[in-house]
C-alpha cells in the first residue's frame, strides 16, 4: 500500500511541476531588455551598434540581443501571443513591414505604442501606415527597403548600352536592353524564384498600388492596372527567355556572384551580397528602379524592410526609451550604421550626414547611399495591410496559368475571387 501511495504522490508531483511554471509574479521594473532579430550581418549588427551607443550613457540597462531566424520569430510570436502568455517573449522584436499589420491587428493589446518616444515626422512617410494601427504608432521604423536596379555595366557595354540609358527608364526600355545584352553576351537579364513575387510587389508599389485597397483589407486585383501591367511585363521577360529560375536564396546569390545575369532589381539590403564577390568590383552600378510604362509611376519603390516593435511586457517603457533615443534620435548612430553595416535607415535627419556622401569603388565610384537616400523620399506610400502573403501565394499560382497561355483578365478575376474568399 505504501508503495502505491508513494507512486501516486510522485505522479502528483510531476503533474504539479508541469503547472507551477506559469504562476510567477510580473517584475514591473526590470533592467533586462531582450531583443529578437534575424540576419547577423545586418539587423543584429545594427542593434549591437545601438546597444553600444546607448549604454555609454545608460549603463544600467542590460540589453541582450538574441538571433533567431525570421520564420522562428514569427512562429514563436504567434504561438505565445495567441496562447495569451508573454513569458519567454522579448521586450523588443523586429517585424517585417509586410507582416506588421497582421501582428498588430491579430494581437491588439500585446504591443506597446511608442508615440511618446519617437516623432513620426522624422521618418520616411511610406513607413508610417504599416507600422501604426488605429492612430497609434507601434513600430520604430528601421531599415529602408528602397529598391534599385543593380546592373552589370560591363555586360551592358558589350551590347552598346551604358548606365545612363537606365536613368529614369521604364520597364520596356529595361527589357529592350536585357534582350540586347542577352544577344551580345548570352547572359539572361534577371533571376527569379517563381514562388517569390517580390519583383511584382516592387513594380506595383512604384505606381502607388498594392494587392489590397487603401483600407488594407479589400483585395484589389482584377481592376488593378499596375498589377496587370506588371503581369504583362513579367510574361514578356519570361517569353524572351530573360529570366533564370532559382528556387532558394543561395541559388539567387550564386546567380549574381557567378555573373549569370546582367541585372538585379532588389532592395538596397542586397548590396553586401553583391559586394561579396570582390572580383566584380567596378563592374556594377545602381540605376533608379524602372517605372511602369503607360501608367502613373515613379522611379522609386521598396522591397522588404522592417521595423522594431515593443511588446507589452515588463520593461516596455525602458525598451521604448532605448529605441527612441537611438533609432529615433541619434544621427551619429545612423552614420555608424552606414559606415559599418552599409545599411540605410529611414530616419530622415540622418540622410544629410557625411557617410551618405561616400563614393563606392565597387560600384564604379557611384555615391550609392546618397542615391538610395534620395529615392527613399520618393517611394509611394501604400498600405500593405493584412494579407500580403495569402494573396501572393494565390498570385504565384495564378501567374503560372497566365504564363501557360491563359487570358490575363480571366486569371486576375479568378485571383480576385480567390483572394476575397481567403483573405478575411
Amino acid at each position: 500500500m505504501k508503495r502505491i501511495f508513494a507512486l501516486l504522490f510522485v505522479g502528483l508531483l510531476v503533474l504539479s511541476a508541469c503547472s507551477s511554471g506559469s504562476g510567477s509574479e510580473a517584475d514591473a521594473d526590470t533592467n533586462d531588455i531582450k531583443v529578437w532579430a534575424w540576419d547577423p550581418n545586418f539587423n543584429i549588427k545594427a542593434m549591437e551598434l545601438a546597444k553600444t551607443a546607448y549604454q555609454e550613457e545608460n549603463s544600467e540597462l542590460n540589453i541582450e540581443i538574441i538571433e533567431n531566424a525570421q520564420d522562428d520569430i514569427i512562429q514563436k510570436l504567434n504561438t505565445s501571443l495567441s496562447s495569451g502568455t508573454t513569458k519567454g517573449l522579448p521586450n523588443i522584436v523586429l517585424i517585417e513591414d509586410y507582416r506588421a499589420q497582421s501582428f498588430l491587428q491579430s494581437y491588439p493589446d500585446m504591443f506597446y505604442a511608442v508615440d511618446d518616444s519617437i516623432s513620426t515626422d522624422d521618418f520616411a512617410k511610406y513607413k508610417i501606415p504599416t507600422t501604426s494601427f488605429e492612430g497609434k504608432q507601434y513600430g520604430v521604423p528601421f531599415d529602408s527597403g528602397v529598391a534599385g536596379l543593380y546592373i552589370r555595366t560591363d555586360y551592358l557595354e558589350e551590347a552598346g548600352y551604358s548606365k545612363d540609358d537606365l536613368q529614369n527608364a521604364d520597364w520596356e526600355k529595361v527589357i529592350e536592353i536585357g534582350k540586347a545584352v542577352k544577344e551580345a553576351t548570352g547572359k539572361q537579364m534577371i533571376t527569379q524564384d517563381p514562388k517569390d513575387l517580390g519583383l511584382l510587389r516592387m513594380m506595383i508599389q512604384s505606381s502607388g498600388a498594392w494587392y489590397l485597397d487603401e483600407d488594407g483589407v479589400t483585395p484589389d486585383i482584377a481592376d488593378n492596372d499596375a498589377l496587370k501591367e506588371a503581369f504583362r511585363l513579367y510574361k514578356e521577360m519570361i517569353d524572351a527567355d530573360l529570366v533564370k529560375p532559382h528556387s532558394d536564396w543561395s541559388q539567387f546569390i550564386a546567380a549574381i556572384n557567378n555573373g549569370d545575369i546582367s541585372m538585379v532589381p532588389s532592395g538596397n539590403w542586397i548590396t553586401p551580397s553583391i559586394k561579396a564577390e570582390a572580383s566584380q568590383s567596378g563592374k556594377w552600378a545602381v540605376a533608379p528602379f524602372p517605372k511602369l510604362p503607360g501608367i502613373e509611376s515613379v522611379n522609386a519603390s521598396n522591397l522588404g524592410g522592417s521595423s522594431w516593435y515593443v511588446l507589452n511586457v515588463p520593461g516596455k517603457e525602458k525598451a521604448a526609451e532605448f529605441l527612441g533615443q537611438t533609432f529615433g534620435a541619434d544621427v551619429d548612430y545612423y552614420q555608424q550604421f552606414v559606415e559599418e553595416v552599409g545599411g540605410l535607415g529611414t530616419y530622415q535627419p540622418a540622410a544629410e550626414g557625411e557617410a551618405y556622401q561616400a563614393e563606392d569603388e565597387f560600384f564604379g565610384g557611384q555615391k550609392i547611399l546618397s542615391d538610395f537616400a534620395a529615392w527613399t523620399e520618393e517611394i509611394p506610400q501604400v498600405n500593405y495591410g493584412l494579407h500580403t502573403y495569402v494573396i501572393e501565394d494565390i498570385l504565384a499560382n495564378e501567374i503560372q496559368k497566365y504564363l501557360d497561355g491563359e487570358d490575363l483578365d480571366t486569371v486576375l478575376e479568378n485571383a480576385q475571387s480567390l483572394a476575397e474568399q481567403q483573405a478575411k
Binding site: 504567434n78 491588439p108 524564384d193 529560375p245
Partner: protein, 311 residues
C-alpha cells in the same frame, strides 16, 4: 491492465476464508487502478484535452486572438477553398504513387536480402536502412541541392547526354512532384524493408523447400508464399505509410516550399501557412487539421477492407 481484476475473483473465489480474499481483491484492484490512473490522466491531459480544444477551435474563426464562433462556416469554407482542395489532390497523388512504389520496392529488396547465399548481407541491409536515421530536414536540404538546376543530378544527366538542358526539378510543377516522391521513397523504403525482413525470418524455410520440390518458380514463390505470409505486415506498413504521407510536411517545406505555385503543397504545409505564414487564423487551421484526421480514418478503413481480414 485488467490482469489483477481477472485473476482476483476467479482464483481467489475457491479459497475458504472470504475476509482475506476480499481485502486481497481490493488490494489487487487498487494496484491495477493506480497503474491505469496515472497513465490515463496523462493521456487525458496531453492528448484528449488538446484534441477537444482543437475541435472547439475548429468552429471558431478570426485573426490571432480575435476569435469568434462561426458554427460550421469553417467546414463549409473547406470545401470551397481551392488551395485546400489542391493540397488534398497533391497529397493523394503522393499517396497513390509513392506508397505502392515504396512498398513493392521494400518487398523486393527484403526478399533479395533474405537470400541465404547473398554475401555482404549486413552491409547492404545497413546501407538501405541508413536513410531512416537521417534527420528529415537535413536530407531534404541535401536533396534540394542534388536536384538544383546546376546540381549533381542534372550535371550527370547532361554529361551522359540523356538530357540536353537541365530539368527544372524544383521549379516545374510536374518535376517538382517527382522530386518529392523520389525523396520520400529514398527516405522510407529501408524503414519498411526492415519490417518485411524481420517477418520473412519467421517464415518457415520448409514451405519454400516444399514449393521448390513441387516445381514452383521464384516468381510463383514470391506471389503465392511470400506475399500471403507477409499480408498483416504489408497492411501495417501501408497504413503507417499512408498516415505518414498524409502528414507530409518537412520534405515539401524544405525542398520546394510548396512551389511552384501550390503544385507540391501538402495539407500539413497549408496548416502551417494558415497559422504562421499568413495572418494567423488558428480556427480555420484547426478545421484543416481535423480534415486530415478524417482522411486518415477513411484511408485506413479502405485498406482494412481491401486487405479483407477480420483483423
Amino acid at each position: 491492465m485488467n490482469i489483477p481484476d481477472k485473476l482476483g475473483p476467479e482464483k481467489l473465489a475457491k479459497k475458504p476464508a472470504p475476509r482475506p480474499a476480499r481485502s486481497l481483491r481490493l488490494k489487487n484492484t487498487m494496484v491495477g487502478w493506480s497503474f491505469v490512473t496515472l497513465a490515463s490522466l496523462l493521456i487525458g491531459i496531453f492528448y484528449f484535452f488538446p484534441m477537444v480544444q482543437a475541435l472547439i477551435l475548429s468552429f471558431q474563426s478570426g485573426s490571432g486572438v480575435n476569435l469568434s464562433f462561426v458554427g460550421f462556416e469553417n467546414y463549409i469554407r473547406l470545401f470551397q477553398d481551392p488551395v485546400f482542395l489542391t493540397t488534398v489532390k497533391n497529397t493523394v497523388i503522393y499517396l497513390i504513387i509513392q506508397v505502392p512504389v515504396m512498398i513493392l520496392l521494400a518487398l523486393f529488396l527484403s526478399v533479395v536480402l533474405n537470400n541465404k547465399t547473398l554475401k555482404w548481407k549486413g552491409f547492404f541491409r545497413t546501407a538501405i536502412f541508413l536513410p531512416c536515421v537521417t534527420s528529415l530536414v537535413a536530407y531534404s536540404v541535401v536533396f534540394k541541392y542534388l536536384f538544383a538546376p546546376d546540381g549533381i543530378v542534372n550535371m550527370t544527366l547532361m554529361k551522359i547526354n540523356l538530357v540536353s538542358e537541365p530539368i527544372q526539378w524544383l521549379t516545374d510543377p510536374f518535376w517538382a512532384k517527382i522530386t518529392i516522391i523520389l525523396a520520400i521513397t529514398w527516405r522510407w523504403t529501408g524503414y519498411n524493408m526492415i519490417f518485411y525482413l524481420s517477418a520473412l525470418q519467421n517464415v518457415d524455410r520448409s514451405i519454400y523447400e516444399a514449393a521448390k520440390i513441387d516445381g514452383a518458380s521464384a516468381i510463383q514463390q514470391f506471389f503465392k508464399i511470400t506475399i500471403p505470409m507477409l499480408k498483416p505486415i504489408i497492411l501495417f506498413t501501408s497504413i503507417t505509410s499512408t498516415i505518414g504521407t498524409l502528414q507530409l510536411f518537412d520534405e515539401v517545406m524544405n525542398i520546394t516550399a510548396g512551389g511552384p505555385g501550390n503544385a507540391t503543397m501538402t495539407i500539413s504545409q497549408y496548416i502551417y501557412n494558415l497559422s504562421f505564414k499568413y495572418t494567423p487564423d488558428f480556427g480555420y487551421a484547426a478545421t484543416v487539421s481535423y480534415a486530415i484526421v478524417i482522411l486518415i480514418v477513411i484511408f485506413s478503413i479502405i485498406q482494412f477492407k481491401a486487405a479483407g481480414d477480420k483483423k
